[in-house]
């Protein structure tokens, strides 16, 4: 019985993974929005305000993170089927 169940479970998992990857692709811009909104909460009560270098590195760091995450998701998505096929059953 376990032998019979093995292959469907495997296939199920693959398409399940694809679904979650598209979820990730959808959520990525939300992550970007949140991360780039966080500096707005920084307190600027110190005399010289927020450090220039820190803010610069933070904004650009988030940027690099988003680019890398997006590239990784696309890479994983590309391994499998066309998006239209996985979408149609979505």
């Amino acid at each position: 019985m376990s032998r019979q169940r093995n292959s469907p479970v495997f296939l199920e998992r693959a398409s399940y993974k694809q679904r979650r990857l598209t979820d990730a692709a959808r959520l990525l811009p939300l992550l970007g929005m949140v991360l780039w909104a966080i500096p707005l909460l920084w307190r600027s009560d110190t005399a010289e305000g927020t450090s220039n270098a820190t803010s610069l590195l933070y904004v650009f760091g988030v940027w690099v993170l988003l680019i890398i995450l997006s590239a990784l998701i696309i890479r994983k998505l590309q391994v499998d089927t066309e998006p239209s096929q996985s979408e149609s059953s979505d």
């Binding site: 692709a25 811009p29 909104a37 920084w42 927020t50 220039n52 610069l56 650009f60 690099v64 239209s84």
Partner: protein, 898 residues
């Protein structure tokens, strides 16, 4: 210092190289070697037209003035690209499936191929783009001036204007040459896209080169640079949260709504998979473009004398350091940014102007004269497009002249963005919400345009330019809540945030409300379903029902738009697909729809629809079509309904078959019963004949007994013969083979014959007759009639069970027939047997008394039917009555003859 002429030479050489690149790309595409042109890399680089000269030069100035706020202009597009799965993927799929030519085409096509909406979007786009094009002209002119001034020339206003004019003319020529060579936008501008890709590389290299020089050449590496940034006068992070979020939203929305971005993102997209690569590669490009902006700004502020224009640091820092080569590269980068943006923007806008304003107006003017048959639309469209390109550049130049090229122009970039973004609600609503309607979209767009014009566009010309100071402070006619920068009394907001907020809120709000209260037309609903469900439906629903048009007319029209070769190729392919010889296919709705798509690729959906509509004369869609095709569910439902109907039909057939089977079974049972009856009837006399003949063989029998037995055998043989005679008679009668001998005779004598032959001499039966009534003459087969009478009378003799049996024979007549009633005084026939008595072998009472086979009445009825009359059982209170009906018609005819 490099001479100004060298710079001119460098710029012209660069343009020449671009020409060569564009030309080669077109050549290769024409020769079919366009594979490498269709790579994700080229697609990504072509998106870089988002980075205009405003961002190339202006970002540094922006950073010097407002710190990190400049980065919002890149963060919005980054979020949109990273979130490609949401909007861009759908836009690209819709663009490909609907063969969209521009963003105006998208909106017009979505809302029922509306010409009005296409015009509105085109007008918004042109108004919003004009200042932006002016900005590009200004940047290029300023960068020329920087070199001229570094060469100790002093430029006055005339020099600026002349330079700007030459740049505008040069751009117009380049754009017309490569942008309007072919008409079908979906064939794509290979040359232009390739040139843009080269320019994208040049501007990135230029900015990175300056950045690397600044970081490593001046600041001494990254850590030194960070040190300088930390101690710089610029405050990088001092953001108003409203502005930060609004600007990210604004730039992201503009990235989708700008006509030029739509052109490269959707129209020029050759393969949907390119979008996947671009989704991370383009943010990376933006990242690199902005990485060195802050370092250049910081170093520029440190190095250059106070009061120098930070917008030009990218040029002036290398020049100040004596790096002339780097400065020229930087100049070319800025030049690239400006030219690529202007080229694509003018192509996109010219397409929109020609497809959504010029051609509809031209069609409208020519509508009475059946323009389709006379003018060459192709030439009109190309001419319109070329004139539009020149016109749009001229508008930009005029705006540049009018604004005086001052700093006011720099501020207008974001205002221009806000104008473009007014398209966003209609666009997003259109592709995600099936309930969005044309009226809602039009009202929303116009409201947004109005608020944008009042709060941002008109004030941008400067104080007292269009709106007077008093109106700004007190509102028009003293209405305070209409003040351009404090609508509804909400003052104190940043003017830009104020304008974005109110225009978007009202635009989206009116759009939604307008859509909710209005009702869309059939075509609108159909298009809505196709746009919103673009991933679910791969094939589109047929939009044309009436195909009452000739293939030749369609071909003539298509040739005028697509060119004769392409049009004929389409028609021949279709004819071949339909299996026809020759080049004219059958005009099917599918073909018309296909043709409309092809035409839409050249002139836009609304115009193509109108043109086809002129020829076919049909209103594209009927409500029935809509119901049948708009929803996939409807199709499935219909299919299942059909199946259901079919199965019901089969059930009906099955039931009919079952009934037939039952009938056949019953018939078979009847046949079996008949056979067994007949064999029984035949066997009974045979049995007695056999047994008595056996006895006769015995010799010891007395002569008297022998006589008796022979008599029995004789009687039985007679009975058998009679039975067989009856059967034969019946079968002859039933098969209609009987020959009737027409005779004329007296009824009375017939009855005499019958009574005499019925064997009444040895019975008690008394026959009561009315001799006068019987005095009628009949004309029929009299022998057969007598046979019937005998049968009925002998039945009475056999079955009448009264103690004094009496048979009354009554004769009366109606118009048509004589009725001879035979009424006895017996007990009658039970009601349940009334139907049986005329059946074969039916005997109601016991068999011994009857001595017949039960065929008598059956034969009687057959005879009477043959004679055109009938014999029927009359139900009475007492006794049994049979009525023999003999038709009069024949007799009266016979009487008439005599």
């Amino acid at each position: 210092m490099i001479s100004f002429n060298v710079l001119i030479f460098a710029a012209l050489s660069y343009v020449a190289i671009l020409f060569a690149v564009a030309f080669l790309a077109e050549q290769r595409a024409a020769a079919g070697h366009s594979n490498w042109l269709h790579s994700p890399l080229i697609y990504t680089l072509s998106l870089s037209i988002y980075c205009t000269a405003w961002t190339f030069y202006g970002a540094v100035g922006y950073a010097a003035r407002s710190g990190l706020e400049f980065v919002t202009i890149y963060l919005g597009p980054t979020l949109v690209m990273v979130g490609w799965w949401w909007i861009l993927r759908k836009l690209v799929r819709i663009g490909r499936s609907q063969r969209l030519t521009s963003i105006a085409d998208l909106i017009s096509s979505r809302f029922g191929k509306s010409t009005l909406l296409g015009m509105v979007v085109t007008v918004i786009s042109v108004i919003a783009a004009t200042p932006y094009i002016a900005l590009q002209l200004q940047s290029v002119t300023l960068s020329f001036a920087v070199f001229a001034q570094s060469g100790a020339q002093v430029w006055d206003a005339a020099d600026f204007n002349a330079t700007a004019l030459w740049v505008a003319v040069g751009l117009a020529i380049f754009t017309i040459l490569f942008g309007t060579r072919n008409l079908d936008v979906n064939e794509r501008h290979h040359g232009i896209v390739m040139a843009i890709a080269v320019e994208a590389v040049v501007k990135l290299m230029a900015l990175v080169a300056v950045g690397v020089f600044v970081v490593w050449g001046i600041a001494g590496g990254p850590s030194g640079m960070l040190q300088r940034i930390e101690t710089s006068d610029i405050t990088l992070w001092d953001q108003d949260s409203g502005r930060w979020i609004s600007l990210i939203f604004l730039s992201g929305a503009a990235f989708i709504c700008l006509p030029r971005m739509f052109q490269v993102l959707v129209v020029e997209n050759a393969d949907e998979r390119h979008l996947r690569v671009a989704s991370w590669a383009f943010p990376a490009y933006l990242f690199l473009m902005s990485l060195f902006v802050v370092p250049i700004a910081v170093v520029g502020l440190d190095l250059l004398p106070a009061g120098s224009n930070p917008d030009l640091f990218v040029l002036t820092v290398p020049l100040f350091e004596g790096r002339n080569g780097l400065a020229v590269l930087s100049f070319l980068g800025g030049f690239s940014s400006a030219t690529s943006m202007v080229i694509v923007a003018t192509i996109a806008l010219a397409t929109m102007v020609s497809n959504h304003i010029v051609v509809p107006v031209w069609l409208h003017l020519q509508a009475d004269q059946h323009a389709m048959m006379s003018g060459d639309v192709r030439k009109v469209i190309l001419l319109a497009r070329r004139l539009s390109i020149a016109g749009i550049l001229m508008l930009g130049f005029i705006y540049y002249r009018a604004s005086g090229g001052g700093t006011a122009l720099a501020a207008i970039g974001l205002i221009s963005f806000t104008g473009t973004v007014q398209i966003l609600p209609a666009l997003i609503g259109g592709i995600f919400w099936r309930g969005a309607t044309r009226i809602g979209a039009a009202l929303g767009l116009l409201t947004g345009l109005l608020i944008w014009t009042w709060t941002l566009f008109l004030p941008s010309f400067g104080v007292e330019a269009v709106i007077s100071q008093s109106v700004m402070e007190l509102g028009p006619f003293g209405i305070a809540w209409l003040r351009p920068q404090a609508l509804f009394g909400i003052a104190g907001l940043d003017p830009l945030v104020h304008g974005i907020m109110w225009s978007m809120l009202w635009n989206a709000g009116i759009f939604v409300v307008g859509s909710l209260v209005s009702f869309p037309g059939p075509l609108e609903r159909l298009q809505g379903a196709q746009f919103v469900n673009v991933f679910e439906r791969s094939n589109a629903a047929p939009a044309w029902t009436s195909a009452a048009t000739g293939a030749e007319d369609l071909l003539v029209m298509s040739q005028r738009i697509l060119g004769s070769r392409e049009a004929q190729a389409i028609f021949e392919t279709e004819a071949a697909r339909q299996g026809l010889t020759g080049y004219l296919p059958e005009v099917t709705p599918e073909f018309i729809q296909h043709l409309e798509r092809e035409l839409a690729g050249s002139v836009g959906a609304a115009t193509a629809h109108a043109m086809i509509g002129q020829l076919t004369g049909g209103s594209g869609v009927s409500v029935e079509d809509l119901i049948a095709v708009a929803d996939e569910a409807a199709q499935i439902l219909e299919y299942s309904n059909r199946l259901e109907a079919k199965s019901a039909e089969q059930e009906q057939t099955a039931r009919a078959l079952r009934d037939a089977n039952t009938k056949l079974t019953a018939l078979s049972i009847q046949k079996d019963a008949f056979l067994s009856q007949i064999s029984h009837e035949l066997r009974t006399p045979m049995t007695s004949i056999r047994s008595f003949s056996d006895i006769l063989r015995d010799d010891t029998m007395s002569a008297e007994a022998r006589e008796r037995y022979a008599g029995i055998i004789h009687d039985e043989a007679i009975r058998l013969t009679r039975l067989l005679d009856d059967l034969l008679d019946l079968s002859v009668l039933e098969n209609g083979q009987v020959v009737l001998n027409e005779q004329t005779g007296d009824l009375s004598s017939l009855i005499d014959r019958a009574v005499g032959a019925a064997g009444l001499h040895d019975s008690l039966l008394v026959v009561v007759r009315d001799q006068t009534a019987e005095q009628v003459t009949l004309s029929a087969d009299l022998d057969r009639l007598v046979q019937v009478f005998i049968n009925v009378i002998s039945n009475a003799r056999k079955y009448c069970d009264a103690s004094e049996p009496r048979l009354t024979i009554d004769v009366n007549h109606t118009e048509e027939a004589y009725h001879v009633d035979f009424i006895d005084n017996g007990s009658g026939i039970a009601k349940e047997n009334e139907q049986l008595i005329f059946e074969k072998f039916s005997r109601v009472s016991d068999q011994s008394k009857a001595g017949g086979a039960g065929l008598g009445l059956a034969i009687c009825r057959e005879i009477m039917h043959r004679l055109g009359g009938d014999v029927a059982y009359l139900r009475r209170k007492d006794g049994t009555a049979f009525r023999v009906t003999v038709p009069k018609a024949k007799m009266s005819a016979a009487l008439a003859e005599t």
